[in-house]
Structure formats: structure tokens, C-alpha cells
Subunit: 338 residues, 2 copies
């Protein structure tokens, strides 16, 4: 944020809008909580660096997870894909000796086939995503971080590179990594929806969801000019920690931190973001289990709120979303008063 108040987001008659940056499951849970409170006043920009082409189909795992979650169609048992899914396609595919490591449900296929076809017809990924979210009756605005192709690779200890979905799904995050990179990122532009959301005078906060800092949030912030544009915006930037008591709720965040030599703690996350992006983040929401780290985080110049960040129920998600909004309002009001 930038403390110049000339462009305060809460002026005027319009109700405030909010921008969330999200990866997959953890981010989508908070996005769902936010969408319950905000409906069409929520703008979710999802990571697309995990996107890949499989069996000729354009797959956008994080966009789909956010979309399915906000449409209340997500599969809560699996943690990915659609509820009430069936697997007849996969069974038949196996009979044809085709690769089966990436599971595509029968209903989920409709999304991938539609996306692939609409992209082939010349639509941007933003346009495709808008059509899909409208069809699924989602009030919030969900859009990709960029309309260009970016591909996350992890660097293995032997120096070789592995595509993210192969690392994440096929290898189940087993290989030790020494780094990661986003192929093509330097040639991308932020999606237009991101620019117009930042330009909207009603933007009241930018929320970094509790997603993997390295492979979900970092790609978004690595798009040229994106981190700067967020830093210079007057609205507060609020990060919700994906780490609780040294553990990731889901996914390889903690394992990756250990392998990357980053302390696997809330502090490690905050230091990582500060090292990469300076004073981008204004407020940090941590779990009350990590409350003992609050003074150290505050000494880094962060406004810290310790609450329950474990989102087991819908109520947990809505409550955490409410904390984000009230923290944003409080921060804004404090920085107006000064």
C-alpha cells in the first residue's frame, strides 16, 4: 500500500470491493468465506502457473478449484474436482492404455473441454473464465492472473526441472526440491481485470489468501509490475498465513520451506514475502497457535491479528473472511487518522 490518501477507496457512495489473490484449496476456502459476505463485490485473481495441457485439454487447476468452491460444487472429500463426480471416462481411458496419473472426472471434463474449445475459438482465458462462472451462477468475479501461458517448474536436487503437475500429482511431492521457476513469466501481462480492479476507487483491501507462497502466490506477484502496482495502491494488503504452528493445513508448503532452507513458520512466510517484495504486505493474520510470534512479526512493521485460521467449516471461512474485512477497515481508518 501507499499511504497517500488522495485516492482513498472508501470515498463516494459505492460500496467497497475486495481483491483476493488465490491458489487452490486453502485460498479457495477463504475466497468462499469472502464471497459469502461480499458476493459480486469480491474479485478473485487465481494463479494460472499450475495450468497445463493434458490429453490435449487446457487444465487450470486453481481457477477450477476457486470456481467449483464458490459455486458450492467442489468435492469436499477429495479436496479437488467436483462433488458427486463419477469416473467412467478414467476407467475407459485406462482400458485404452492412456496416461491415468491425472484424474479427470466425468463432470469435470465438461469444464476442460469447454475451456479448450473456447480458447481454440480465440477467447482469452479471462473471457472463458467469465463464461464458465456466469454459467455456474457465481456472483464473485473470478479471473486468471494473466491471459498468457506461464508454467511452474520445480528444480530438483540433481539440477533437473519437473513440471509442477508432474511433481504435485504424479510424484505426490516426493522429490526434494532446491528451487522453482515460472517459465514464460517475464513475457506475461497482468489480466485486464486485475488492472481495472486496482483502478477501481472502491477497492478497500487486497487479500493474499492462505495459499502456497512459493508456487501459488509468488507466480501472481512475479508478473511484471504486479507486485509494484499492489504495493503502490492505497488499500491495505492483508496476508493470511498458510502455516499454522509450523505445519501447512494441506499441500507441500511446509515440506517445500524445509527443502528451500526457509524456517517452516509464520515468521518464515512473512520474511519470505518481505525479502521478495519489501513492504508489500501491511497486515498479517496468523493462527492463535502462533500468537507468540506476534511481537516479532510486528517488529517487521506488520499489523498482526491472531485468530483461528483453521477453516474446517463454512462458518470458519466466513468468520476468517470477516476478520480480513474488519482488519482492513481498521487499518484504513488508522492510517486516515494519522
Amino acid at each position: 500500500m501507499n499511504q497517500d490518501k488522495s485516492n482513498s477507496p472508501l470515498e463516494g457512495d459505492q460500496k467497497p470491493i475486495y481483491l483476493a489473490l488465490s491458489g487452490g484449496v486453502g485460498g479457495a476456502k477463504l475466497a468462499l468465506g469472502l464471497s459469502q459476505l461480499l458476493a459480486h463485490r469480491l474479485f478473485v485473481m487465481a494463479n494460472t502457473s499450475d495450468d497445463f495441457i493434458h490429453l490435449g485439454l487446457n487444465i487450470s487447476p486453481d481457477l477450477d478449484t476457486v470456481m467449483y468452491t464458490l459455486a458450492n460444487l467442489n468435492n469436499k472429500e477429495l479436496g479437488w474436482g467436483l462433488a458427486n463426480e463419477s469416473w467412467q471416462f478414467m476407467n475407459a481411458l485406462e482400458q485404452l492404455n492412456q496416461p491415468n496419473w491425472f484424474r479427470l472426472g466425468d463432470r469435470d471434463l465438461a469444464t476442460h473441454i469447454t475451456r479448450t474449445e473456447l480458447l481454440k475459438q480465440g477467447n482469452t482465458l479471462s473471457q472463458v473464465t467469465q463464461r464458465l462462472t456466469v454459467a455456474l451462477d457465481i456472483d464473485a468475479h473470478i479471473f486468471p492472473m494473466t491471459d498468457q501461458v506461464v508454467s511452474t517448474f520445480v528444480r530438483l536436487e540433481d539440477g533437473s526441472a519437473l513440471g509442477f503437475q508432474e511433481y504435485f500429482v504424479k510424484e505426490q511431492c516426493q522429490p526434494k526440491i532446491s528451487g522453482y521457476f515460472f517459465e514464460g513469466i517475464e513475457k506475461t501481462k497482468s489480466s485486464k481485470q486485475f488492472i481495472s480492479t486496482l483502478d477501481n476507487p472502491n477497492l478497500a483491501a487486497i487479500i493474499i489468501c492462505p495459499s502456497n507462497p512459493f508456487v501459488s502466490i509468488e507466480p501472481i506477484l512475479s508478473i511484471p509490475e504486479t507486485a509494484d502496482a499492489i504495493r503502490q495502491h492505497p488499500a491495505p494488503v492483508i496476508a493470511v498465513s498458510p502455516i499454522i504452528a509450523g505445519q501447512a493445513v494441506k499441500g507441500p508448503t511446509a515440506k517445500m520451506m524445509q527443502e528451500l532452507g526457509i524456517p517452516s513458520s509464520v515468521l518464515g512466510v512473512a520474511e519470505y514475502y518481505q525479502q521478495q517484495h519489501g513492504d508489500l504486505i501491511d497486515c498479517f493474520i496468523i493462527d492463535h497457535k502462533d500468537q507468540h510470534l506476534q511481537p516479532e512479526l510486528e517488529s517487521m512493521g506488520l499489523s498482526v491479528l491472531a485468530v483461528n485460521t483453521m477453516m474446517n467449516t463454512l462458518q470458519d471461512r466466513v468468520t476468517l473472511a470477516g476478520h480480513c474485512l474488519s482488519l482492513a477497515a481498521q487499518w484504513t481508518s488508522e492510517h486516515k487518522e494519522k
Copy 2:
């Protein structure tokens, strides 16, 4: 056939092989009967002029019908697609407001996605078909009439052209037609497997299955040099009538004949083939209900056999296949003796 006996197919130690030309359902039924008797000694060349791209997927309706039928995986109730099919993909596709007039089952999708991907990787349709039939444990050799793209259109009364699947599936054959054409046919070559099958000295008969003469068999015979190559081959050409007592067992054959001004009878079919391709056909198998037309067919120079051609059961299919083989043997022996 050509009555030069120097290249008689039954010489040598090898067992005879048979080539069937087939469209969809009716052709596939006879092909199944033949495959029960012949296994790997059966070569089925399927029409691919109905093929089209739908939702970005390469669909080959006749190849699939033959393939599924010979693998005993075909849906006997629907008459197309796979048995034990489910429709979750279509339900989800409808939710996304995508076109739903062409029904793609969940299991069937595995075939289309695999074919599309293998074609994109540079395989020919023949190579793709071979991989699919091997995966499905089919003994017979199934291959497309060509590896190039051909597209059947019907000509409507107002002079406009309609893609075949739109006519056949979307419009349920309702529009009256005044003709048909095979876009791209003049640039195609017969598939290599056709050439090598004709070159095989053990080829004992070429069987024209009871498929639609206009839009299933005619595209095959319209590939440059194909009808000539068949006519010049010493093996007998045996056609099984798709018309019984003036009616098509299934599909629009009889309706098309009426609209094209061709008598809707076995005679109309035989005359059509003769008009288009001269003395290509040696033997004609008709239903015993059409036995009264036998003299007239014989006066056209055809060897005629009247049997039950209605293939309701597997036994019916095998019996009719047996008639084809014994008629071929009889014809060959008669023409050797002369």
C-alpha cells in the same frame, strides 16, 4: 472382380482373408458376424466421411461403431456408443450452456480424447485406429477408408448444404435432400491397409456390408482409384442389401432413396451401384422377402442369393456372414471351372 485367374486368392497354404466395406450400425452387425467366423482374417474398412470435429474432438462415428461392435462393447439399446454408458459429462456440459445435440457418453469420450490427442501427436487415423483396436482386444483389422479428411454434406432442396452429423443427428434426417457430396474426396488416397489387403494373394472376397449405399459405401468407392481397384481384383465382390421389402432396417436409406428419385427396393440399390460403378458387384445377397426380384437382379448379371438378412441376433449375424463366405467360395469355384 476381374476374371483373370492368374492371381487366384485361394492358391497357396495361407487361409483366405476377407475385406468388408462398412458404414455404421448395419455394416457393423455383419462385420461382427464375419469376425466371429474369421477373427484376424477379417479386414474391415470403414467409412470416415461422417467424421467431424465436435467440441474440439475428432469423432469417427462409423469406425467407433465397428470397433465397439467387434469388441462387444456396443450399446445395443441405443444402437450407437458404448454399453453401460453414463452421461455425467453431458449433464455438466449442459450446465455450462454448451451444445448438447451430439451426445458424448462418459466412456465414449475416452475414445475421442485419445484419438484427438494421438492425431495431434502426428499419428495417422489408421495408426490411431490400430492402437485403439489393439487396446480393445479386437482380432479383426479395422481401418479407415483414408487417412485424409473427407466430409459428407447433404444438399437440401433450397440448394444449401448441411454437414452430415447435423443432418443425421441434430436434424434427425428430417430435411428433404436433393443430393449429397463428399467434400475433399478428390484429394484423398485409400489407406495403405486397403492397398495391402487388395495386394494380399489370400484375399478371397470383398463384402459390401448392408450400410447406406449413398453416404456410407459411396464415400469409400469415391476415393480415387478405389472402385477401379476393387473391380479389377479377381476376388468376388458381394453386396448385402441394406433394404428389405422396400424398407431400411435402420437409418435414412429408404427415405433418401425416395427423395433422390431412386426406387426404394433391392433393385434400386443394385441399379444405383451399377450406374455408379458398372460391373463392380458380382453377387447380391437379398432378403427372402425380396426373392420375387431375384430374376430381375440376375438379368443385371448378378449372382443372387436370397436368405434372411434381418440380423436381430448374434446367430443371425453369424449365419448371414456364413452365407457371404460360402457364396464367395461358390462363385470363385464356378469361375475357376469355366
